[in-house]
């Protein structure tokens, strides 16, 4: 409580602090309302559309709305509720979808001019699963172009503003997904994480975000960036709701050969368990040079809370961490250069006018359609894969990737979870890093490791800086141990008061 008052005082000192932050109702509250008939799904959806109409011009969170589809689903839920039928877990819950996941008939831009005008004729599996569980899909959320970026400033449709402070970035690449939850423009959202794109914006906007284990959630219908790294995961205002959402979207899919057949846990129930006896590893490599002192203090306080709740804190070492960013940027860009080859102006999206030959049409469409960061990554990836450089760059990065992943497996022999800051810095100002791609890449230093190792993780809010900027704690767990990560995150969350 004292902490909350402290935060409020700190916020009032900040002149650009806005009134956009609002906590959405919890899933259990909403569910009770819908079952009792007190809440009508249709009215709820309309009230969200009103809020979106009111504040989206200031925040630029939504790129398109799927009103017709949303009201159809909501109407169906209201009919079921009136009949007294058993309602699915997300009945009537308004959700938003990052615009790299496709929803039938809705525009799918991936934040790029390259896909302008594209209306995919099918649903991503994660989107279909949310809707099958009763969720009402409000629309598509802004993001960095093709999910490449850490600030949402690479969107061809303009940056998202952080609802906590509109002069600051919301993080990226799932900036719209995080901001939507922070500003109650959706109760929950889907994002994607290739190098930190769920965890870092969750941290910057002060909400919960989940990186599921590689293979836990189907990627069918995800516009691919780097296929050995891409994951789909949920955002929610609290950890338990994020856990519920993961149980809905996880599972095997015949349309994604990398999805796992392992049974899906009841993650919300797992998150209810005590952390008594849980072994929490703290790696020194995540608390070194470059870490903002206020963030360090906040994360150390979070670790103290875990200890107080009965967890056992152990120092662990992950020495290859310092090589994670260069490794990530080679692996991710190499895969991106191959994945983005499909955008050629032939089958969908943008085509340059007036090219006389096929080759000129390809290269001109791509130069006009892609933004600067996407081109930079395609170029780096193409270079790293080209004859004469493959061994020195791409193969080398894959070797380091194995060292890094095996290091995690060793540490997870000693501890159940690893606790770190999600980001070394609080949300920075719009425009602050746009001229220096390398500085932007270094902001991903604590998140790219779990991406490379394929392990799971959660960002849980961990208070704020003196000036009211959110801080996030990252809890990592080994492959398919999401339940354990949620448990620890719940304990950190509970201590926030």
């Amino acid at each position: 409580m004292a902490n909350e008052i402290h935060q409020k005082t700190a916020r009032s000192l900040d002149k650009v602090t806005t009134d956009y932050v609002q906590k959405p109702k919890s899933l259990s509250e909403l569910h009770a309302g819908i079952i009792s008939g007190k809440t009508k799904a249709t009215e709820l959806a309309n009230s969200y559309y009103e809020r979106i109409a009111e504040i989206n011009p200031a925040l630029n969170v939504y790129l398109s709305l799927t009103r017709e589809r949303a009201l159809e689903t909501a109407g169906r839920i209201d009919e079921l509720a009136a009949k007294g039928d058993v309602l699915p877990v997300l009945a009537g819950v308004p959700v938003g979808i990052k615009d790299v996941l496709v929803a039938k008939g809705a525009p799918a831009t991936a934040g790029s001019k390259m896909l302008s005008g594209y209306h995919p004729p099918y649903d991503a599996t994660s989107v279909a699963k949310l809707e099958a569980a009763g969720a009402v899909i409000l629309g598509k959320l802004n993001c960095d172009e093709f999910a490449m970026g850490s600030s949402n400033e690479n969107s061809a449709y303009g940056p998202v503003k952080n609802p906590v402070n509109v002069e600051r970035v919301p993080g990226g690449s799932s900036g719209g997904s995080a901001a939507a939850v922070a500003a109650d423009m959706a109760v929950a959202t889907l994002g994607t994480d290739t190098g930190g794109s769920i965890r870092q914006p969750a941290s910057f906007c002060g909400v919960g975000g989940v990186l599921p284990t590689y293979g836990r959630v189907s990627r069918y219908g995800l516009i691919a960036f780097a296929s050995s790294l891409d994951r789909v995961g949920p955002f929610a205002a609290n950890v338990r709701d994020a856990a519920t959402l993961l149980s809905v979207i996880a599972g095997y899919d015949t349309q994604d050969a990398t999805s796992s057949r392992r049974p899906v846990d009841d993650y919300a129930a797992e998150s209810d368990k005590s952390v008594k006896g849980l072994r929490v590893g703290v790696p020194a490599e995540y608390f070194g040079e470059g870490l903002d002192p206020e963030i360090r203090e906040s994360i150390e306080r979070g670790i103290d809370h875990l200890r107080a709740a009965g967890a056992e804190i152990k120092q662990v070492s992950l020495p290859t961490t310092q090589y994670a960013v260069p490794t990530y940027y080679l692996v991710a860009t190499a895969e991106a250069s191959a994945n983005l080859a499909r955008f050629d102006g032939v089958r969908y999206g943008y085509r340059a006018e007036g090219a006389e030959t096929l080759a000129a049409m390809y290269s001109r469409s791509r130069d006009e359609g892609f933004g600067a960061e996407v081109k930079r990554r395609i170029m780096l990836g193409t270079y790293a894969l080209s004859a004469g450089y493959y061994d020195a760059y791409y193969r080398k990065a894959q070797q380091v990737r194995r060292l890094l992943a095996e290091e995690f497996l060793t540490v997870f022999g000693e501890v159940d979870v690893i606790a770190t800051p999600t980001s070394p810095i609080p949300p920075f100002k719009l425009g602050e890093k746009t001229d220096d791609p390398l500085a932007m890449y270094l902001a991903d230093i604590y998140t790219v490791t779990a991406s490379l190792a394929g392990i799971c993780g959660v960002t849980v809010p961990s208070g704020a800086t003196q000036s009211g900027l959110p801080i996030g704690m990252q809890i990592l767990a080994s492959h398919f141990n999401e339940g354990t990560a949620f448990r620890a995150a719940r304990a950190v969350e509970a201590a926030q008061g």
């Binding site: 004729p121 099918y122 590689y214 293979g215 050995s228 015949t254 050969a257 990398t258 999805s259 796992s260 057949r261 290859t320 090589y323 260069p326 490794t327 940027y329 080679l330 250069s337 080859a341 050629d344 102006g345 032939v346 089958r347 969908y348 999206g349 943008y350 085509r351 090219a355 030959t357 096929l358 000129a360 049409m361 390809y362 290269s363 791509r366 130069d367 081109k375 930079r376 395609i378 170029m379 780096l380 193409t382 270079y383 080209s386 080398k396 990065a397 894959q398 070797q399 380091v400 194995r402 060292l403 992943a405 791609p437 390398l438 890449y441 190792a453 394929g454 080994s478 492959h479 398919f480």
Partner: protein, 107 residues
């Protein structure tokens, strides 16, 4: 510091990537690629002799990590797919049956 990537090489890579960069873009690209590669070469500090490259985490050997792709392949059966018209409608130019593109072969 000597540049790792010269102007000519930027042109060669852009050609491989099917990107028609403007002169201004090429100059900036060369500068950015060199800055990033100068940072990336620190990987050479690590001795990786004999380390098997890891391209997918399911190759990790840990039981927890195994997502065995072979076992995941679905049965080779014919299923209804997307409607052709729905797909062709998305093309910048098509006759409903084929994608139309500029001339490929000069006669």
């Amino acid at each position: 510091m000597s540049a790792r990537v010269g102007a000519e090489e930027v042109g060669r890579v852009a050609e491989l990537a099917h990107l028609e960069l403007t002169a201004e873009e090429s100059g900036r690209m060369q500068q950015d690629l060199n800055a990033i590669l100068d940072y990336i070469v620190q990987l050479n500090e690590l001795d990786t002799t004999g380390v098997e490259p890891l391209s997918q985490v399911n190759e990790l050997g840990s039981e927890g990590a195994s997502v065995c792709v072979d076992e995941n392949l679905r049965a080779d059966e014919v299923h209804a797919s997307l409607d052709r018209r729905d797909v062709m409608d998305e093309a910048p130019e098509s006759n409903g049956q084929f994608f139309k593109v500029p001339k490929v072969i000069e006669r």
